[in-house]
Structures are given as structure tokens and as C-alpha cells.
């Protein structure tokens, strides 16, 4: 490989990128903007769920019960409603996401020490939200029961209310949240967003850059030039790797300084691993560009082969051990999962080489394989 030829190709590519001012700006603006948007917008905390109450009982007990929900920060009270019929309308119009229906005789049943029931309606369009809502309802209902039985126990045994309540809770649950003590969703999201964005942006840039020459026909200059395919590919991709590496730094700064996510690991290790990952994802772009003929196809193919795996099979939303066997298999076949381990390890867990060397090694293997396949599939004399 001739160093001068590689540099010449890289320089030409660089000039071409820089001259297209809009494209050059977007190459940096898009990843940063995605980080900002997702970082601020992609909160999965379910709070302020709009809900309504139908109270057929209208006693002190039923009002007390309703107030447990009205006072909670998880729910956003939209008012009392006449009957269930009105609820159906509110639910279908997305005005409320949940409703509580308190039956007649609710208060009397409780006063006479007998069991009673209430109904909760939940909008199940978004299963995740429905499940979280049900969880809140169960917890608030359990607290109500504890208070009621506690009162009964206190009377029966002649002990204080606090003591009676303690007796009802012989086992406490002591929870320790590791790596993210305050369970902030941004802490768990931002490092993984870094992974997602670096999965999407470099292949996009690269695929477009290479196919552009094919579509405009300038690739024939390359075919007829003395430059070898190895030199051409190396030089062609170098600027995109450089841009993406700079993006790694920008994204890292946003994560640490803007979203205040702690970085507990070794920075140099992180940089090296990220560089390998970026080479890997650039390689995906290269492969796409070798296969397709038009830039439109390049955009769409890249979008599809990168976005889905980056979101679904990388551990962003679901940890890998919770996936089904097939999905786990797919996850292990794709590079995204390994870099997720690395970012989470570096940012939140503070582990380094010792725990993550296999992941880095596999990514490096990927990079080599992708470039190898790209190299063999790219021909200077294509069958036209």
C-alpha cells in the first residue's frame, strides 16, 4: 500500500466533504442534535397519568380512597365523572389514561369490617404505560389496605397504630440500586444513546460518500487510476472515521457535562474502544455502498440495517438476558451489543480492560471482517 496514494485519496475526499458546507455541518450537527433530543425527550418515567374517578358511594371512605390517587405525583386528576359511560368517551379521546370506579356501599362495607372492591380501567394502547399504571394502582391500593387493617389490629390488640402497621410488615424489602443509585433514566439512557447514534451516523456518511461517486460516474476515474482498491478504500474511509471520532468526543462531552452522567471508567480505554467501534460502523457503511447502486437505496438500506439492530438487539431497552433465545442469538451476531457493554461499563460501572477485553476483541474482529468483505466485494472492474 502506497502511503502517498492513500493520502491523496483521503485528501480529495476531505476536500469534497468540506466544500459541501451543508453536508459538513450536518455531519456534526445531526449526531449532537439527536443526543440532545433523545436525552431530553426520551424519558421513560411514567408520571402525571391523567385519570378520572367515578364515585357511586360518596362517603368519607370513598373520598379518602380517591384522595390517595389524587394526591399522588404519579397521577394527574382530571375530575370526578358521572358514570362509566362518560369514562369510555374520555378514554377513547385520550383525555384520560386511567379511571377508578368506586361502587355503592364501599364505605359501609369497610366500616362493618368486610371486604369490598373497586375497579380500575386502564388504557392499554401503550402496554408499557398500562403496566406501570397498574403497578402504581396496586401499590396505592396496598397502602390503603395496610392502613385499614392496621387500624383494626390496633383496636383489637390495643396497640399503637404505628406498631400495628409494623406488625403487618414482618419483612421489609431493602433495595439497593447498583450503578445508578437514584434510578435516573437519563443515566441509563445517555451512554446507550452514544452507542445508537454512533451506529447510525457513521454508516450513513460513509455509504453516501462512496455511492455518490458511483452515481455521478466519477468512480470510473478511480477504476482507471493506478490506485489499488485497498488504497482507495482506506483513503476514502479515513475522513469519515475522523469525523466520527470527533463526534465521539462531542457526544461524550454532552453526556458527561450536559446530562451529568458520571464517567467512572478509564478514558483512554473508552477512546480506544470507541475508535474500534467507529471503524466497525464505518465498515457497515462501506459494505452497504458496495452492494447498492444509488444513493437513495444507500440511505434506506443503511437506515434499516442500522437503526433496528441498534435499538432492539443491543440492550438499550431490554437487557440481553431477558431476550428470547433467537433474539439473543441475533444480538450476539451484531456489534451493537458489545459496545453497549463497553459504554455501560465505562460510564456507570467503572470497569475497564479486565472486564471488557473480550468485547473490544470481538469488535476489532468485526472491523477486520467488515473491511475484508468490503475489500473483496469491491472490484475495480465491475461487471456492468
Amino acid at each position: 500500500m502506497n502511503r502517498h496514494r492513500v493520502l491523496a485519496v483521503a485528501y480529495k475526499e476531505w476536500r469534497e466533504i468540506v466544500r459541501d458546507r451543508l453536508f459538513f455541518t450536518l455531519a456534526f450537527v445531526v449526531p449532537a442534535l439527536l443526543m440532545l433530543l433523545f436525552g431530553y425527550g426520551l424519558s421513560l418515567d411514567v408520571e402525571d397519568i391523567p385519570f378520572a374517578v367515578v364515585d357511586y358511594d360518596r362517603t368519607a371512605e370513598s373520598r379518602d380512597y380517591a384522595y390517595r390517587f389524587i394526591d399522588s405525583r404519579y397521577f394527574d386528576f382530571q375530575g370526578y365523572v358521572q358514570d362509566e359511560h362518560a369514562l369510555a368517551h374520555l378514554l377513547s379521546q385520550n383525555t384520560i389514561r386511567a379511571a377508578i370506579i368506586i361502587p355503592e356501599h364501599f364505605g359501609r362495607q369497610l366500616q362493618t369490617g368486610r371486604a369490598t372492591s373497586v375497579q380500575t380501567l386502564v388504557d392499554g394502547t401503550f402496554p408499557f404505560r398500562a403496566m406501570t399504571t397498574k403497578g402504581y394502582v396496586t401499590a396505592l391500593n396496598a397502602a390503603a389496605n395496610q392502613d385499614n387493617i392496621g387500624r383494626l389490629l390496633a383496636q383489637a390488640k390495643g396497640v399503637s397504630l404505628t406498631k400495628a402497621r409494623d406488625a403487618l410488615q414482618p419483612v421489609k424489602l431493602e433495595v439497593r440500586y447498583l450503578y445508578n443509585q437514584s434510578v435516573k433514566s437519563i443515566w441509563s439512557l445517555a451512554p446507550k444513546l452514544l452507542m445508537v447514534i454512533l451506529m447510525i451516523s457513521p454508516p450513513f456518511l460513509t455509504a453516501l460518500g462512496v455511492v455518490r461517486e458511483k452515481e455521478s460516474g466519477s468512480i470510473f476515474n478511480i477504476y482507471s487510476a493506478t490506485v489499488t482498491r485497498g488504497e482507495f478504500l482506506t483513503g476514502k474511509l479515513a475522513p469519515y472515521v475522523a469525523i466520527s471520532s470527533l463526534n465521539v468526543l462531542i457526544l461524550w462531552m454532552l453526556t458527561v457535562w450536559l446530562f451529568n452522567v458520571p464517567f467512572k471508567g478509564d478514558f483512554l480505554f473508552f477512546l480506544l474502544a470507541s475508535l474500534i467501534y467507529v471503524i466497525c460502523t464505518t465498515g457497515i457503511g462501506l459494505l452497504v455502498s458496495v452492494v447498492v447502486q444509488t444513493q437513495v437505496a444507500a440511505m434506506i438500506v443503511t437506515a434499516i440495517v442500522t437503526v433496528i439492530p441498534a435499538v432492539l438487539y443491543s440492550g438499550v431497552l431490554i437487557p440481553i438476558p431477558s431476550l428470547g433465545p433467537t433474539a439473543q442469538g441475533i444480538a450476539h451476531l451484531l456489534p451493537a451489543m458489545y459496545f453497549t457493554n463497553i459504554v455501560v461499563g465505562c460510564f456507570l460501572k467503572g470497569v475497564g480492560w479486565a472486564a471488557l477485553w473480550t468485547d473490544v476483541l470481538i469488535l476489532a474482529g468485526y472491523a477486520v471482517a467488515l473491511f475484508g468483505i468490503g475489500f473483496f466485494m469491491f472490484h475495480k472492474r465491475p461487471n456492468l
Binding site: A27, Y65, A115, G124, T138, K172, L173, Y177, V183
Partner: protein, 384 residues
Amino acid sequence: MTLADFTIWLRRMAVMTRKEFLQLLRDIVLLAFIVYAFTADVYLAASGVTLQLNHAATVVRDQDHSAASRELLGRFQPPYFRMDGQLASNQQGQQLLDDGHTMLTLTVPPQFEHDMQSGHQTALQMQIDATNSVLGFLASSYAAQIVGSYGLEVSLHQAGLGGGKLDALPIIENRSHVWYNPNQNDAWFMGITELLTVITVFAILLPAAAMVREKERGTVEQLLVSPLSPFQIMFPKVISMTTVILLGSGLSLFAILMPVFDLPTRGSLLLFFSLTGLYVFTTAGLGLFAATLARNLAQVGMLTILILAPMLFLSGAWTPPEAMPTWLRGMMYLSPLHYYIDIAFGILLKGLPLKALWPAISGMLMLGGTVFGFGLYRFRRQFG
């Protein structure tokens, strides 16, 4: 306009539309990926992902080995929890958590049963890998429910209250009914969301790319010196893309979502496809607008990501809108997708009739009309 003029006008439109279809059909790779996106991609999203706590890998350290500890630990069951075995030491648990091999550890202290029987409060310790904050939170809330109800049973038994007859206690039973998706089937939600995402991606990208390609190759000059009006150049592109996208949506619905995932289509499918057509048509205006800003396909590719990403993420499809900061929720109303989501879920899952959809439809029409009008205006000004 005379009848003859109108016939010519129609014929020109027909010829141009045919040209657009031919151009699209000739790009085999692109076509293959359009089919892939509407079938395999939707299938993967619907089958692979759940945001629910699903088989959370759990290891336990039982230091008591009593009937009570076994009883309590035995209640951590699938589908939420999956017992992955016993731990010999706390370090081993820490190691498993660090390596990401397990998500939870449960530790029962020695003397657990003894403490409970002698009326001392005891504790179950739980360590959660909170690198995924949502699942961490869910795991702790399910555990709290399990431990709470276990404790209540034990203490009621000890106090001689109830004696198995919970009816004789003032207990409120909360019955939850989940509407529209009673089993909280994630496949329905993820499948529809992915379909809407794919539709949106193509609705913006395809017309934008088709337009810029003419610009890049210079064929737009030929079109402009022809007797075609800007409208006649632009409109056929939108028609052909809308047709392709509608065919794709049909494929997705009839070949994947309905037969494979038993998605109920409770409302009128005719209404669904009409409104989808309307959505695609108006959203295409955004793509055309991007096309007037860009000079080449690479620029358009980056610009569409810039338009698409906020649209998709602000729509409330991926995250519950309730969880967003207020200013973002305000911006959400500016995304046509936001209205289209209400329409699509409303028709498919809720079975809403046309008259219940008017607020969403008018929102979509107003935004879409503005966007389309603006796209046409920019195009006219640039080429008119």
C-alpha cells in the same frame, strides 16, 4: 380551461406518474428494501421487543434455609423473574452483576424465620442492576408487591385475624381492566409503531430523494423547459410514492401483523388506508421542502434525519407523552405523526368511527396542508 386542455393536463400527469413508477421499479435494491421494511422489519420489531420486565435473571443467597425463606423466594416467579440459581457469597453476586450476567440478587439474612416468628422485623435484601432504570424500577415494585403480600399473610395468620377468610377483613380488592389491549400484548403496540415509523420514513425520504436526484443529474432542467408546471412535476412523484407506501402498508397489515400477531382491526380498514394515504400525501411536503434546501442526495439524507428524528421521537410513539417535559409536549402538537398515531391506534385498536376521529384528522389536515403548501411554494419559487 376547456375540455381539451383538461385532457392534455390529465395525459401529462399520467405520463409523469408512469415515469415515476418506472424509475422506482428499476431500482431493484431499493424495491427489495421497501418490501423488507414493511415485512421483516415490522416482524422483527413486533416479535423482538418488550418493555416489560420479562424473565429478569435473578440469583439468590439464602442464608437461612428455612421453610419461610423458601416460601418467600418461591414467589419470585416467571414471567417477571427467572431464578438462575444460588450464590455462595456476596462477592460472587457482585461479580455476576458487574459482568451483566444477572440483573438481580436477593439475599435472605440468617435467622430470617426465627426473627419473623418472634415478632422482630426482618428484611429481604435486593440488589438491582439499575443501568436500565425502567426495568430496575419495575423489578423493585414487583418485589415490593410480593414481599408486602407475603408479610400481610404471615402477620394476619400470627395475629389470628382473618384465619384465611380475607372476606372478614376490611380489604379493598382492586380489579384492573385493561382496555383496547387486554393482555398488554407488546407485539401489537411495537408492530403498529414500527409500521407508522416505516411509513413516515418513506413518506419523507422517497419524494425528497426523487426530487433531488433530478436536480443532481440535471434532468430537472429538462422538466422545467417542458410545458409542465411545477405542480405537474411534483404531484406525480407524490402519487407514485403514496401508492407504493399504501401497498407496503397493506402488505405489512395483511401478511404480517394480522396473521402472525393476531392484531385485531376493530375499526374500518378503508378508513385506515384513506387516512394513511392522506398522511403520506401531506407529509411528503416535508420531504419536498427538504429537497428544495439541498443540492445533492447526501445533504438530503442528513436533512431528512434531522426532520425525521424529532418527528418520530416527539410523537409519543416510543415514549409515553406524559413523561415528556412540558415544552417538548407542546412541540409534539407540531408533528403530523402525533395526529396520525392517534388515528392509527384509534382505528386499529380502539375501533373508533370517523366522527370520533375528527379532532385528530383536522389537526393532521391543517398541519399537513400547511407543510405541503409550503413545500410547493418553495419549489415554485426555486424553479417556477
